[in-house]
């Protein structure tokens, strides 16, 4: 259990305390990860299944690494298509996997809400590894973990998130978590990439990169998906890069010295981020990858091995 939750589907539903519970536990998990012998028996005999309907190497590897360090067994299931095309339904696929008695089912899907549907139809815990443009809660948590390491805390801090906010599940999870933790969030991108009503979630909206990043304590640069070009959300990568990409000159001129740069990966070098910035001293991108394993260890532990997991029985969860 993470606080009241048997699943980890959306940070919108998490309280500040529940987020902090994960971040605090992830500190000890990171210490385990850095040991020369990185193996603890905590989840021995437990099984974690990853069910991915979208290709993703890094997120799946991160979950599997986390599970293995905790001694859980892992099984990965790749579905080439979603049930949008004819075939087995999502519920049938999930129930088939459930019949193998996993303790945690990690799911990534191109449709927002797919993990909710699965959670309502299986008895094991469900972790959302990204659903459409909805949420990517473990990414949100690892971003918060990384920011807390670098900034010391969230009170009075300002984080700018730059890119295609409309289609970004990372932006939504970051926004929910950061505002709950007390940070101010600025969203920035061309107006075609800012979703309607997003200011109601507690962020300010900017179309000018400079006003968005000036004075910010951290900047999260989102990946520009090539399929959005000609959607037509933007005329092309050339103008996007010029206006909303971050290069060394803009970083030096506009960012405060302590400002760090995050990116959920994979980077389009030269589009949203110049290579010198991605590899430069402000970049915490590789910290994010390492912290991702620690945060996912914490989540798997809380859902599959925490003291309350036994007591919660097999009843279905609501959230």
């Amino acid at each position: 259990m993470i606080g009241r939750h048997r699943h980890c589907i959306a940070l919108e539903a998490f309280s500040r305390e529940e987020i902090l519970e994960v971040l605090d536990l992830a500190v000890s998990m990171k210490e385990v990860l850095r040991r020369p012998l990185k193996k603890v028996p905590t989840l021995r005999g437990k099984m974690v299944v990853t069910l991915f309907f979208e290709t993703s190497t890094r997120t799946r590897s991160s979950f599997e690494t986390a599970a293995k360090i905790l001694s859980a067994d892992t099984l990965s299931w790749t579905a080439a298509t979603s049930s949008v095309t004819k075939g087995e339904t999502l519920i049938d696929t999930a129930r088939n996997l459930e019949a193998m008695r996993p303790d945690v089912l990690v799911i990534r899907h191109s449709s927002g809400g797919a993990p909710d549907l699965v959670a309502r139809n299986v008895s094991c815990s469900v972790v959302n590894a990204g659903d459409g443009a909805h949420e990517h809660p473990t990414q949100g948590l690892l971003d918060c973990f990384t920011l807390r390491e670098r900034l010391g805390g969230f009170d009075g801090k300002t984080v700018a998130i730059v890119g295609d906010i409309s289609h970004s599940r990372v932006a939504r999870s970051d926004l929910h978590a950061l505002t709950k933790l007390g940070a101010r969030v600025r969203l920035c991108g061309p107006p075609t990439m800012i979703p309607m009503g997003v200011e109601k979630l507690g962020a300010t909206v900017h179309h000018d990169l400079r006003t968005a990043v000036e004075g910010a304590d951290a900047v999260v640069m989102l990946r520009i998906q090539h399929e959005r070009i000609g959607d037509p959300l933007i005329p092309g990568t050339r103008e996007y890069s010029k206006l909303w990409g971050l290069n060394v000159k803009k970083a030096e001129d506009w960012l405060i010295p302590s400002c760090v740069i995050l990116h959920p990966g994979p980077i389009n070098r030269g589009v949203e981020l110049a290579p010198e910035v991605a590899d430069g001293p402000r970049s915490v991108i590789l910290d994010q990858v390492e912290n991702g394993v620690a945060v996912r260890m914490a989540i798997l532990y809380l859902l599959a091995g925490g003291p309350s997991a036994e007591a919660s029985g097999s009843g279905r969860a609501q959230a």
């Binding site: 919108e12 979603s82 049930s83 949008v84 339904t89 999502l90 519920i91 899907h109 191109s110 449709s111 927002g112 809400g113 797919a114 909710d116 549907l117 659903d131 459409g132 443009a133 909805h134 949420e135 599940r169 939504r172 979703p195 309607m196 009503g197 997003v198 109601k200 979630l201």
Partner: protein, 435 residues
């Protein structure tokens, strides 16, 4: 449909018949399948059958301009018979069946099949609608002359918009020869894109692709202009936006021949209700549930007469189409058996007067499509609904007469229910245990 002989006295109920201006306790006398009289007191002959309507409403049988009966082709979702059974259970004695069947109703053989199945069922009267375009492809006109003669009361490509402005113009013109209304499902498909719910703060939070209200507004504006150009009869289906209501009200004011309907769900629910329900696909329909501001505007449209009718857009689906990811699930919900309670609830909250509610379920829709229904005037067919406005019930989709179980009101406590329905003087529905 066989009309019954004999005499029935419906006594003690509050008779609400907006078409003839009656609202008060009356006795409705039905003789030989027609309304003989509606009077304050009458000594009844000893052999007359009596329906005790004390504490209830007695109204003309409801008229639904928009149902999907799925036959021919998708009988696993609904048949004419099950749909007609659901209709009378909800107080609807006349329903207008959309042509998006398989094959679509673009010729006399399909129209005749639907009518024959309805006659065999002997429940609600079923009025078929023919296609605007052959096979609903939006390319050539269907044969309105043949459709009219075989029994169609309107044409529609419902489920799809008529994308071509030129074809829409010709449809409105050609339909004039037959006095057929052209009923339109309004959405600009390019603006809709891959959208699955209303675009707004709720779609942003849920990470679902949004459909702007203006995808409907721009098509309504176009078709009002074409109705003005042609003098044809335009009927706007399932109005869901503030902009549509405003444009329709304005056009009516200028004398454009337009009528319009709204569904109970667009009157009662919003995209925030969908957000609260998680990703429940029983909240997925097209047009999508809109904002509170839109819902309020649609309620005002019913209240002030800018919109003529409440129509259910009854759209039964099986779990095969619905127990899926939100993106993949079919659009639509059933509505025949919940419409009265949902709309009565709105009337009780002050959205519109009760009398106006009854009008929008009876004479309003009947007039829009020129149907011989919607009134308790002397000599009219005795299509009557008896409704208990205080009856509280739990909405159990498993108990529906419809094959469809897809309703956002599943499990809800509703107030108000049809207890009896008469079609042509025959009692075709009596709620079990209601008396």
């Amino acid at each position: 449909m066989s009309e019954s002989g004999g005499t029935i006295f419906i006594e003690g109920g509050r008779v609400i018949d907006p078409a003839s201006g009656v609202d008060g306790v009356r006795t409705v006398v039905v003789r030989d399948g027609v309304i003989a009289e509606v009077v304050e007191r009458l000594d009844r002959p000893r052999d007359a059958r009596v329906l005790d309507a004390r504490g209830k409403w007695v109204t003309p049988g409801f008229v639904d301009l928009h149902v999907h009966l799925r036959e021919p082709g998708q009988e696993y979702k609904e048949t004419v018979a099950t749909g007609a059974r659901a209709a009378v259970a909800g107080g609807f004695t006349s329903v207008v069946a959309m042509p998006n069947t398989a094959p679509p109703n673009d010729n006399a053989s399909v129209t005749e099949l639907v009518r024959a199945r309805a006659a065999a069922a002997g429940l609600a009267r079923v009025y078929p609608v023919g296609c605007i375009s052959r096979a609903q492809k939006g390319e050539e006109l269907a044969e309105y002359g043949e459709l009219k003669v075989s029994g169609c009361v309107a044409v529609s490509d419902d489920g799809k918009p008529v994308t071509s402005s030129a074809l829409m113009r010709r449809a409105l013109e050609y339909a004039k020869a037959f006095g057929l209304p052209v009923a339109v499902h309004e959405e600009d498909l390019l603006l809709v894109g891959k959208g699955v719910m209303n675009e707004g703060a709720a779609s942003t939070r849920m990470g679902l692709r949004g459909i702007p209200a203006q995808a409907e507004d721009v098509m309504v504006a176009r078709d009002l202009a074409l109705a003005e150009l042609t003098g044809g009869r335009l009927h706007v289906q399932h109005v869901s936006t503030e902009g549509s209501v405003r444009a329709i009200r304005e056009a009516r004011g200028r004398g454009v021949q337009v009528t319009a309907e709204a569904t109970p769900h667009h009157l009662a629910l919003t995209d925030e209700d969908l957000a609260r329900a998680g990703y429940d696909t029983d909240f997925k329909m097209n047009p999508p549930l809109r904002s509170e501001r839109d819902a309020r505007a649609v309620r005002e449209g019913i209240a002030d007469g800018a919109l003529d009718a409440i129509a259910t857009d009854h759209a039964p689906h099986s779990e095969v189409e619905k127990r899926l990811e939100f993106d993949a699930a079919a659009n639509g919900i059933v509505g025949l058996e919940t419409a009265f309670a949902v709309c009565l609830g709105l009337a009780r909250q002050g959205a519109f007067p009760e009398r106006r509610l009854v009008e929008a379920l009876t004479s309003g829709p009947a007039r829009a499509f020129g149907l011989p229904a919607g009134t308790l005037a002397r000599g009219a067919a005795a299509d009557v609904a008896i409704l208990d406005p205080g009856l509280e019930w739990r909405c159990d989709p498993g108990a529906f007469h419809s094959k469809g179980r897809n309703t956002p009101w599943k499990g809800a406590r509703l107030v108000g229910r049809c207890t009896h329905a008469l079609v042509g003087g025959r009692l075709v529905h009596e709620l079990g245990g209601a008396r």
